[in-house]
Structure formats: C-alpha cells, structure tokens
Amino acid sequence: MTWDFDRNRPIYLQIGEEICRRIVRGDLPPGARTPSVRELAAELRVNPNTVQRAYQELERNGVLFARRGQGSFVREDPALVGRLRQQIAAAAARRYWTEVAALGMSPEEARRLIAGVIHDDKSSLR
C-alpha cells in the first residue's frame, strides 16, 4: 500500500507524524528500532534524504535517539507515549474545530455535534 500524504505540506513533517502515530498505536513501542531510512523510503516511496531529515527532527525533539551504526530507536521514556498521544489528538481536535467553525458553527453546536458522534460510535460498538 502506498501511504498517501498531503502534498501541500513538507513531507518530512508528515513522516515524523506517521512515526509518532506508530509509537502511540504500539506498532513502535519504546526501545524499538525504527525502520531503516532505506526501508521506510521504499515503503513510503519518498526520497531517503527526506526520511533522514524526519528522523533527525524526531531525534531533536527527544522522540528517537540514534545509536551509532545501528540506526534509530524510540526513546525509553515512560511519558513519551502519553505526550505524543496528547499532541496528535490535540491536532486532530484543532482540525475539527477549524473546519466546523469555517462552516459557521458555534462552539456550543460543535460540542453537541462531537458529543453526538462519540455517542453514536459507542452505541454502534455494542
């Protein structure tokens, strides 16, 4: 499967977000080795330099660390998953609010709508 990213935004940022999602979902648990630059570039069909840049950025932000000659690993920080989860969820919430606000929805309507969506989703799971 080809990962379909938003071509209007820098790709390295989106690769970073994808790695963070994999960490939160548990596909890449703390301490796990990330795919090599070459593997991930082939999987996502992007330039390896772009993957390299995404990894460097994640190292700077304390998400990954590099072991010389062995590749990149997810930091073994107990707070990491919670922090990333919060970041990703907050970004999704902002996207939701931006979109419904642009449609002219009031904060109250937006809250009711999302509460309704959560309610319906819960009942469908039963």
């Binding site: 071509r7 209007n8 390896p48 330099n49 840049r53």
Partner: protein
C-alpha cells in the same frame, strides 16, 4: 573534488531554426535528486544531452562533476535517454554484460537485486519486451552502476502504472543518497515529486524557478505539482 555536481552558466543551444536553450543558469550540489520539470519543448532533453556529453552547447559554461562534459565525465555519468537506445537483438543478460564491459563502475550484486525487483527475465530478448519492461531494464542498467551522476530523461513517460511503480521502486532501491546525484526530467510531476530533493522549472529554454522541494512546499503552502501549474499555465 568539486562540491557541485552540476554548474551551468548562461548555457545556450541553437539548432537550425530553433533556440532550444536561452541562457540556463543552474547549480546542483552533490548527492541530491533533482527534478528538471517543464512541458514538452522547454529544453529538458537538450540540457540532459549536453550534461551527458553527447551534444555540445552553442554558448555558455557547463561543468559536470567539476569538469567539461567529455570522455572522462562519461565514465562517471549514467545517462538514460528517452529514446530506445538498447539493441533489440540482445537479450537482457547480454545487455547487462555489455554494460558491465563498457563501464568499470558496474555493480553486479546491485544489478542482480534490481533485476529481480523489476521482474525481468535474463533470457528475454529486448525486442520482445513490452515498452514497460524496456523502461524497467533501462533503469536497471543505469542504477546498477556506481555512477556519480545519473541522468534519467523521462523515465516514466508512456508506460503503464505498474511499470511506473516498478521504475520508482527500482530507483529507490538502487539510489545511494548522499553519494549519487540524480537528475530526472518528467512532466509526471505528481508521481515523481516525493522523490525529489530539489526542483528546477525549465520554461522556454531558461530556468525560471529552482529550489529545495520541501522549502518550496513550506513557503508556498502548495505541492510542487500546484507550483508547476502556476508556472506553466
């Protein structure tokens, strides 16, 4: 060793009745993948032939890997023209051995790996291959060399979706980032743009815009494809 893979200054090329290049200025650092983008007739293939050393400029300066294009640069440059350049009577294996005999930088292990990835049969006669498979073979032969510069002229044009994906996958497998500089010309911007470090837009024989692909996306808030539309529409 020059830090630049390509240095092009006020390059012009005139054919009888046609001014193909009208003063191209372009510098490309080593180790990056560059998309040379522009519509038909913008001068892409002419520029590639000059970089490959198979055509001489009418005016201006060209440095490829720090030197004037010629015999010495040809040994270090893998050039894949858009036209069919393989002998139809050869089989795949003969084409590989021919390339290995001509170019000292041929890497048999990578050739083997890429051949399998492309789904090419060593015994198939080139004349019998479909256009898509011939395109895959052209790429294998170029990427199997440890060339310092790879020039791919329209590697995806006129071939089916699966062959295009195979060519892109082969490119990613064979490419050595940071070591090899790659120039790809194409008008299939959407498919190629995730592979590019840099882009240069060629319009009517001049470079009208060039830069880092990610920086352009961030600055303009749009894809390279959208930018292409803006420049050429």
């Amino acid at each position: 060793m020059s830090e630049w893979a390509l240095e092009v200054e006020q390059l012009a090329k005139k054919f009888p009745g046609v001014q193909a290049l009208r003063g191209v200025d372009l510098t490309i650092p080593r180790g990056v993948t560059v998309g040379l983008l522009g519509p038909n007739g913008s001068g892409k293939s002419t520029l590639m032939r000059i970089l490959a050393g198979v055509q001489r400029p009418s005016a201006g300066e060209v440095r490829v890997l720090g030197r004037r294009p010629g015999r010495e640069t040809k040994e270090r440059v893998a050039y894949v023209p858009e036209v069919e350049h393989l002998y139809p009577w050869m089989d795949v294996d003969e084409a590989l051995r021919f390339t290995a005999a001509v170019f000292l930088d041929f890497n048999p292990d990578r050739a083997e790996e890429m051949l399998a990835l492309a789904g090419l049969d060593r015994e198939a006669r080139i004349g019998d291959l479909s256009k898509g498979y011939r395109a895959r073979l052209k790429l294998v032969l170029a990427m199997a060399r440890d060339a310092e510069l790879v020039l791919l002229d329209e590697p995806l044009s006129g071939i089916d979706l699966i062959s295009r994906e195979k060519v892109l996958d082969g490119f990613l497998r064979g490419h050595r980032p940071g070591e090899t500089t790659v120039v790809i010309t194409t008008h299939l911007v959407r498919e190629v743009e995730p592979l590019l470090d840099r882009v240069a837009f060629l319009k009517e024989g001049r470079v009208v815009l060039d830069g880092e692909a990610e920086a352009l996306r961030a600055k303009r808030g749009c894809s390279i494809e959208d930018l292409y539309r803006e420049v050429f529409a």
